[in-house]
Each structure stands twice: as C-alpha cells, then as structure tokens.
Subunit: 337 residues, 2 copies
DNA sequence: ACGTATAGTCGAAACGCTTCGATGATTACT
DNA sequence: AGTAATCATCGAAGCGTTTCGACTATACGT
C-alpha cells in the first residue's frame, strides 16, 4: 500500500480513502491511485483491514452437528448462504457444533466473525441465549420460542400446512393423517415439528375434516410400521401428509406391499421436502418444497443488513413452501374399500 | 493482552510466548499468566494474531457451484472438513465458485486463507493451474490428470471397481453392465467417470466375464430408457453396476415395470453412493459406499500438515469404498429367462 | 469582504498480536 | 575455573490497514 501511495504520489491514508470511499477524493487522484494499484498488482490484505477497522467481513454459519442426519436441504442451504455472503463481500465460515457446545463462546470471543447465522434453531436454544448474552449480532433460520426483537427467516409453516390441507380437501379427501418427525424432536422444541403439528389440527378443524396427527421416528422402518398401524386404527384414511423423508420411504413400501396403488388408493404429500428426493421415488411425490436457496440468501442478507445498518431494526421474514403437484396425489376414492 | 501482562507482572511478549509455546517459559510464570487471563476473561484476537504471524489459521474449501446437482455426499463432506479443521485449530471458509471463475485469484490474494482444499477436481482443472502458478498451498479431493508432486486424497476407484466386479462374479454373474455418469462428464474429465470406466473394462477382462459399459445422463428418465435399451441389446445381462444415483431410480422403475424382481431377475450395485439414498429404495441397494467423512477429514489433515511441516513433502492417500451388501444383489439366475 | 462550510489531502496514532535481538542467570562441559 | 550452551525474560520493531485531527484551498451566504 505504501508503494501504491508513492507511485501515485499521495499519502498512504489517501489510498485508503480511495479504496473505501470513506472520505471524498478527487476524480483525478483516484484515477492515479487505481492505476498504481493495477501496475503493482496490489491487493488489500483482508486481515489487516479487519484488524484496523474492527470488522472482519466474515460471518459464521452455525451448523448443528448431524443429529437427525443431514439432508440435501441443508447442503443447498449452505451453498446458497456462502454465495450470498460472497455477493456482499463477506466470507462465510462454517462452525459445525452441537447446540449445547461450550466452544461457541470461545469462537465468538476470538473476534474473527462480525456476526453469525444460526441454522436449525430450536424453540429453546442455548446458542441463542449465549448470543443474546454476549450481545453478538446474529440472525436465525427458524425461530426460537420468543423471537421478538430478533432477526430471522423461516418457512411459513402455517401457510404451508394450510396449502397442503386445502389441496387435499379440494381433491375430496375427508380423512387425513399427518406424520411428523419424532416425538423427541417435538419435545426438543424443533420448530417445524411443533408448528406444523399445531397448525395441522387447526387447519383440519377449520375445513371440517377428520384428522389424525402422529409422530414417527426418522427411519424407513418406523414409517413402514406407522403406516400399517394408522390404517388399522383409521381405515377410512385416504390421504397422508408426511413431513419425514425417511419415514416416507417406509410408507411407500408399506402401501405397495398391501397391493395398493398411489394415488388411487391413497394420496401422499411430502412436506418440506426437496425435489431431488421427491423425484427419486415411484411414483414421484407431490411436495411442498421449501425455498431453500432463498432462505439461505435472505438469512445472510438480513444479517449483513443488521451489521451495516446504523439503525437497530431487526428484520424478519417468512416464506411459504411451494406446492408442486406430482404423481402421488389424486382424487379421493368415491367408494369404501 | 497488555493487561494480562501487567497483572501477571511480566512483559507483553512473555504472555505471547506462554500462549504459543514459542519459547520456554517457567512453569511458575505460566501459571501466573494463565491465572491472569482467566481473571480478566482474556481471549486472543484471531485477526491480530493472523496479521502478526502471517498465518491466519483459516483454510478455504473450494466448492464448485452446483453443476451436476448436489448430493448428500457433498454435505457430509463439508461438515466433516469443517470439523477436522476445527479440531486442528483452524477455521474453514466456504468458497463456492465455478471452476473457471476469475474470482478465485482475487480471493487468494486477499491473504485471508493459509491454504485451500479443492473439491471435485477435474482431470484438467483451471483452479489447480492457478494454485500452482501462485504457489499457493493446497490439497485436493480427487486428482487432476497429472497429480505428481501434489497433495490429494481420493477414492481408490480401481479397488472399488474391482470389489464390485468381484462380488458379482462370486455370485455367479457372467454378463455385467456398467452405467456411468454422462458422456459429457467423461469428456470434461470428471475423475470418477473416467477412472471407473477404464477400470471396469480391465476388471471384466481379467475375470473373463462379458461386460458392457455405457454412459447415462444424470436423470431418472435417462436411467429408465438406458435400462430398457441395454436389455434389448444384451438380453443376457444379469447384473448392473450403476454409478449414477438418479439413473438408478429410473432403472428400478424400469425393472419393476417389466414385472421383474430385484435381485431375483437382476442384481444392482450402486457405486459410490451413500447409505442414506441406498436405504430409501425398495429393495434397499447394495452399495460401495465412499468413506466421505474420512476423505474430508484426511483432506484437511493433509493440507494442514503441508502448511505446518517444514519439509516439502506432499502427502497423498487413496481410500477404497466399502462394500455394503443389502437387498439388491443375489445369485445369478441358473436358467435362461 | 468576512466568517464558515466543504472538498481534498496529509501525518501519525492506533488495532492486538508475533518475533527478533539482547540480557542475565543457570547449568553443562572440559 | 572458564567457556559455551540453554533457560527465562524483556523491550521494541513490525504486520498492513483504518481513522482521527489538522491543514489548505476553494466555494457559500450575506
């Protein structure tokens, strides 16, 4: 930088001002400075800049260590966040930690990152508490129980659930089951699990349908068994809303073993599930697909906005899933089986 | 840090030495210093450390922007790399760029990262060329065409292919097809595609079997059509080795439509495919599963070793996939169909 | 014509650490 | 006993930026 300054015949600080636009610089000098930078192949040093300005332009993505196992969803998420960060001139570091790790505090206090984006937020999340305590800038994907005054993006589960129920109702289904993630996830306060469970009951009631809502472990075999059990207890079921990709595989197997056909004998909707997975099965699955990339991008944008804005506004956003009709849903049967 | 020094009654530099162990410090003073740090809640500042030492302890994961679409594989990869980095006291930033992006140069010259880990290396990869040109420390997942003198980890495709062919041969299969990724991937020099294609022919010849090797687009429908075409042209096929998860779905559909059963009428092996996907299908798939987490961890380890070692050795490693027998493979039919 | 903004620039002091050379004080080796 | 390492520590000079206060020259309002 000192070389650039010399070559352009200006002071060191002038180069800095030209670079960041912090103070006015005459067009003429700016030209000279840029030319000098070009000729010398000068590139500003990120660390030095960060040290002096106290803003590293690095944000962290707080990524829970695989508990429920990782989905395609998460990956797209990560990459879209990385891209969004880069588009804003930020870097994205990955911090993959258990939610209750004490290591987070250390990492935050290293002063490396300007803010963090928290994924897979639980209704009651120790990471969030820590961040608030340290008054560390953050925003979330998903929401903790009380998310007032915090910045977040999340799937609009109310709307998503409503869309699924409405669609099935339009097809003439009257008895609909909802298959959730596990009870443990529910009790741990995993957002989607809690919110959809609640909304499902409301939507069913409002549409004057019959509904049954149940938890299910995230495994193929659990899905298989759950389906059989459900149909024993509620033989009139004609449609299932499933928010559990692994269980979905088991359900499809159980249906096929029974000699039934999808969607003639039963309709299936996969909730918050990606196209990639939905197209791997036979038949392909009607889904409500989360706007993953948008969530990632938006999450990063909100965080950066928060970091750079002077005012203390904490923006929030909810995005609904999109109904993509494929081959696993159809008109309800007219006749009893 | 100056406060810690004062409180411990030592010089600033002594605190630094105690922290990094760069020079010997008496046990007694070390105690005092650590106590002081504790009391003051002192945490070293990562950026300042990086600036002064010229080693940021940050590495980048060079992640290609989704071309072939993202797999579960990649995600596990990313998280395992992040963890490995953290275990070594490093941070991992994500750089998601097209392989031919000019932006990489900018990023490298920012001086933010000490080294990069390159994913999805093509046989002829501009990123690698750039890294060599700049003499920037890096290691790779996968290999470029000439990988002598470079550090990498990769799947041992030779051994993996051999395992698959051997296993099928043992089951009595005599006519085996190999379904690869697309021809475009092959021509682009995508490593797995090229290496397995080559090795398949060799392995078939060595085992004195009949083999047919074919490319296939990464899509369900392409797999479906490819299967039908293959069986028209080679009615004697009794086993398929498939390295193409999406095509695999199509193949399974085609088999089932034909009224055939897996594995009684045809055996399927999914190559370099994760357990998550293999267990979603009916029947579950026999696979050769890549040691993804190990690859990620090892890749990071090799890179860091390279960064910290004084000697200029560039370690390399090949790991084979593991054969996991599930329900898609069985004895070859004794009789003609 | 006079104080007062404002544009444009400079020099120097941070930012929070590492690292080099120097200095005593021990210990080891002939 | 004398020289040479080694141990333990200190002070100061960076690392490559940003940012603050100061200064000059020009334009502004009255």
């Amino acid at each position: 930088m000192v070389d650039v300054a010399k070559r352009a015949g200006v002071a060191l600080s002038t180069v800095s001002y030209a670079l960041n636009g912090t103070r006015p610089i005459s067009e003429e000098t700016r030209q000279r400075i840029y030319a000098a930078m070009e000729e010398l192949g000068y590139k500003p040093h990120a660390l030095a800049r960060g040290l002096a300005s106290k803003r590293s332009k690095i944000i962290a993505l707080l990524f829970p260590t695989p508990e429920r196992g990782l989905g395609l969803t998460e990956l797209e998420f990560v990459t879209s966040a990385a891209e969004a960060a880069r588009n804003n001139g930020y870097h994205l570091v990955l911090w993959s930690l258990p939610t209750d790790s004490s290591e987070l505090r250390q990492l935050l206090q290293q002063g490396l990152v300007d803010g963090v984006l928290v994924m897979e937020v639980h209704l009651n999340d120790p990471r969030i508490e820590l961040l608030r305590e340290l008054e560390f800038p953050f925003s979330m994907i998903g929401r903790s129980a009380d998310s007032t005054g915090m910045s977040y993006v999340d799937i609009d589960f109310d709307r998503t659930t409503q869309l699924a129920v409405n669609y099935l109702a339009e097809l003439g289904h009257r008895q609909i089951a909802f298959i959730n993630h596990s009870q443990e996830a529910f009790e741990a306060g995993y957002g989607p699990t809690v919110r959809v469970a609640q909304r499902f009951d409301e939507a069913i009631a409002a549409a004057q349908l019959q509904g049954v809502s149940t938890f299910c472990h995230d495994s193929v075999s659990a899905g298989y068994e759950m389906f059989n059990q459900l149909l024993t207890e509620h033989p009139g079921l004609s449609a299932l809303i499933v928010m559990n990709e692994r269980a979905m595989s088991g359900i499809i197997q159980a249906v096929s073993e029974r000699g039934w056909s999808i969607p003639d004998d039963i309709s299936l909707i996969s909730l918050v599930s990606s196209a990639r997975v939905a197209e791997m099965t036979l038949p392909t699955l009607t889904t409500l697909e989360p706007p993953i990339a948008e969530l990632g991008t938006l999450g990063v944008d909100l965080l950066i906005q928060q970091l750079e804005a002077q005012d203390r506004e904490l923006p929030q956003a909810l995005l609904p899933c999109q109904l993509v009709v494929r081959n696993s849903t159809g008109q309800a049967r007219r006749t009893e089986r």
